[in-house]
Each structure stands twice: as structure tokens, then as C-alpha cells.
Amino acid sequence: MDYALEIRNLTKKYNGFTLDHINLALPSGCIMGFIGENGAGKTTTIKLILDLIKKDSGEIYILGEEISKSQRILKEKIGVVMDECCFPENLDIKEINFIMKKIYKTWDESLFRQYYTRFGLKEKQPVKEYSRGMKMKLSITCALSHGSQILILDEATSGLDPIVRDEILDVFLEFIQDERHSIFISSHIISDLEKICDYITFLHKGKIIFNDSKDLLLEKYGVLKCSESELKTVDSSAIIGYRKSGFGVEALVEREKIAGSLLVDPASIEDIMLYYIREGKK
């Protein structure tokens, strides 16, 4: 299988935080959601992927190549959206187009115009007058306008209203129609990722908890609602985590290990993440 992004045993140590032997693989033509709490190491991982910080050990391959070895040519094919818009504030769209034309050999001016017109960005407005939504749209427009084969997005939808987010997610889904294209997206807004992702990777305190196809995860896990005494009858290896309330217990369980007449509701990706890291971990 061809992988758009492959990470093997990636490790980076800081004082008080270690990104610990990260392994993940994003098949070409797919979208991978990268989830985890604040400070889990998502941005650190993305910075390592882009060679903005130096890894302690491990290997990173983007489109089959190591980024630190084939920088220029490879980076033409990577579209990046950071968690902020990084253009200096006095520039406007026309100037950004002019500059990017000189930076990317593959810069597609007409595609750029098409996207910024679609997003309703004004040509002569400097970046500093943009709202957060407009800034993110500008970053996404740039990431899509130079023959990118993989998009790497760090919190590209956070801080945006649902309408803008939906608009942006549609653009991502259009991008992925070409089977050579892939997306690696980190986000706090798990419902967004649930809408578009094929794979979900969950990072917690610098370690990967799971890295699976979304459908498989949704199939595998469920939320069991029962009384405390009923929970005790359940095979303990089936319980990932649980939460007690006035009405009984809710537990994230592996569906196939639950026998009998107990009621298991479908779990969302958000449920899975929350039960893994929150209270009552078995």
C-alpha cells in the first residue's frame, strides 16, 4: 500500500514532556484525523513532520520521501495550514499571489483566484483587517493552490463558526476526490473529524492510544448504560473506562465482549476519546 505519510518510532524529548515512539501511517487517498487533548503533542508531531523542530529519533516519510533529505521538491507537494495565519499583516491577496508565484514553481494563479473568490476574500484588504475565519480561509486557499498532494492541517477549523467550518470541510472533501490526494488534520472539534475522516489517530500525553479506521472504531466500541452491579458482571477486559452518575454507570466497552441483554449504545469518536482519558479508567 502507498502511504502519503508514514511515521516510525518518532521520539522527541522535552523537559517534562516526551513524544514517545509515535507510529502512524496514512494511506494515499485518505483523510486521517489526529486527536488528543491540549498538550498531548499534536502540534509537536506536526512540527516534526515539517522539519520545523529536530527529532531525537525515528523516521518520517511524506509521499515516500524523507523531508529532511528532499526539502524543496517535496515541499511543493505539501499544503500546510497552521493554527494561525502567518502572513505579515500589511500584505493583501494580490501581493500574496505575487509573492507565492515566486516561491512555488507549481503555483496556480487561476486556482488561487477561484478559491479566494469562492471564500469571499477581498483583493485589496490587508491581512490585519481579516477576521479569524477569513485568515484561515486564506491559509487554506494558499495550501490548495500549488499542486499539493497532501494537506497537513493543524487546528485549521478551530475558532470558526459552524457555517465556515462546514464550508471548509466541503473543500477538503472535494480535494480528496482525487485519489492521489490525502489529508492529515489535527483538531479539537472531533465532530468535524468524524464527518470527514477515514482514519483516527488518538494521541494522549505524547503516546498513541489508537490508530484505526474510523468505521472500525465505531464498530468496535459502544457505550454501555447499566447499574453498578450489572457492570460488575461484565468481563473487565471489555471495559475501557466508565463514569458513575445518579442514574447508574456509563462505560465505554468493546461491543463484542459484551454478552447477554445489556444495552450498548453506539459510541462517537468523542466518547471514545473522553472515556479513554477521563475518570474511572479501569
Binding site: V80, C85, C86, P88, N90, K102
Partner: protein, 203 residues
């Protein structure tokens, strides 16, 4: 790299308006005093400040980490800033020469020497400043810039208090040739040091 320099020039366009106004003001001063030296020094200082401003804008927007996700190397980022500094100083030289031609009563021979040494001073200042700015960022770098202008002044004042005999003509000749060589060497070393600093920098 051309893209990076263009980005700085376009982003500094607001500053450019103030820059031109200041130039006009200094031009007027030079015209009324029939004296160019202060104007030449001010133009150089302005150019050094412009390079620092360009870096400050980059830092504010976190441009560098974004730029490094593009087909741009760390070396390109460094070199674009040095080129911008050189372009600014070159432009300053042209403006100073233009002023000296327009303003009557200016001794062009003396003035050309003045322009040369002011530009060398500017180049020297950039050579020391850039590695500091790349290492410590613009905020701390600004403080160091103040120190950099302050310490030589103190040095010169102290030196003049020592009542040393004036240097011989031969010594002055050596200094005249020595300074340009020293500054060019400093510039080259500065580029090397900046590259080493940037290579290790984490964004």
C-alpha cells in the same frame, strides 16, 4: 528567495511612506545647512532600522515557521534578510549621492568618502545585529541594538579623554583601507554565524 525579498518590500510599504517623508525632511535640512554628513548618517541608520522592522513583522506573524513549510530553506530565509539589508544600504547610497548632486555647495569628494564610511558602518551594524536578532528575537535584539550604539559612543568618549597623541597620517591611511576589509570580513562571518544559529533553531 526573490519571493522573500519581495514580501519584505511589499510588507514595508507603509513604512516606505514615512521613510520618503523623512528623506524629504533630511534633504531639506541638508539644503538649508549646505551640509550632508548628518543626512548621510541618518539615511544609513534608517536602513538598518528598516531591516529590523522587517524581521519584527515576520516574528509577529510567525512567518518563519510557515515559510519553512514552503519550498524555502533556512538558508534562504537568512540570505533574504542580508540581501534586504544590502538593498536598503545600496538605495541609501544612491539617495545620498543624488542629494549631494542636487544640493549646492557640498564638497562631493569629502561627501563620497562620508557616504562610503557611513554605509560601511551600516553594514557593520547589520553584521553584528542580524545574528543577535536571529538568536534572541527582535524584542531582546532591540535592547542589544541600543547597547550596540551606546557602547561605541562611550568608547569614543573615553578614548578622547585619554589625551593620546593624534594618529600619524600613515596610521590613518592604514585605517582607511583596513576598515572596509574589516567590515566585509565581519559581514561574511556574520552570515556564517547566522546560518549556524538558524540551523539549530526550533520553531
Amino acid at each position: 528567495m526573490i519571493g522573500l525579498i519581495l514580501k519584505d518590500i511589499m510588507n514595508l510599504k507603509k513604512q516606505a511612506k514615512i521613510y520618503i517623508l523623512l528623506l524629504a525632511f533630511y534633504g531639506f535640512l541638508a539644503y538649508s545647512n549646505k551640509e550632508m554628513s548628518m543626512v548621510t548618517v541618518m539615511i544609513c541608520l534608517l536602513n538598518v532600522m528598516l531591516s529590523v522592522t522587517a524581521l519584527a513583522y515576520d516574528e509577529k506573524a510567525n512567518w518563519e515557521k510557515y515559510a519553512l513549510s514552503m519550498p524555502i530553506t533556512r538558508k534562504d530565509l537568512i540570505m533574504s534578510k542580508y540581501c534586504l539589508g544590502l538593498l536598503g544600504l545600496g538605495f541609501g547610497v544612491l539617495v545620498s549621492i543624488a542629494f549631494s548632486l542636487i544640493i549646492p555647495g557640498v564638497n562631493t569628494k569629502v561627501n563620497n568618502l562620508m557616504i562610503l564610511y557611513a554605509s560601511l558602518a551600516g553594514l557593520g551594524a547589520l553584521s553584528i545585529l542580524f545574528p543577535l536578532l536571529f538568536k534572541f528575537g527582535v524584542e531582546k535584539g532591540r535592547l542589544m541594538m541600543m547597547l550596540m550604539f551606546f557602547l561605541p559612543t562611550v568608547g569614543i568618549v573615553l578614548f578622547s579623554k585619554l589625551n593620546l597623541p593624534p594618529p600619524s597620517i600613515e596610521t590613518i591611511e592604514i585605517i582607511k583601507i583596513g576598515i572596509p576589509i574589516f567590515v566585509i570580513l565581519l559581514f561574511v562571518i556574520s552570515i556564517i554565524v547566522s546560518n549556524i544559529i538558524y540551523k539549530k533553531k526550533e520553531f
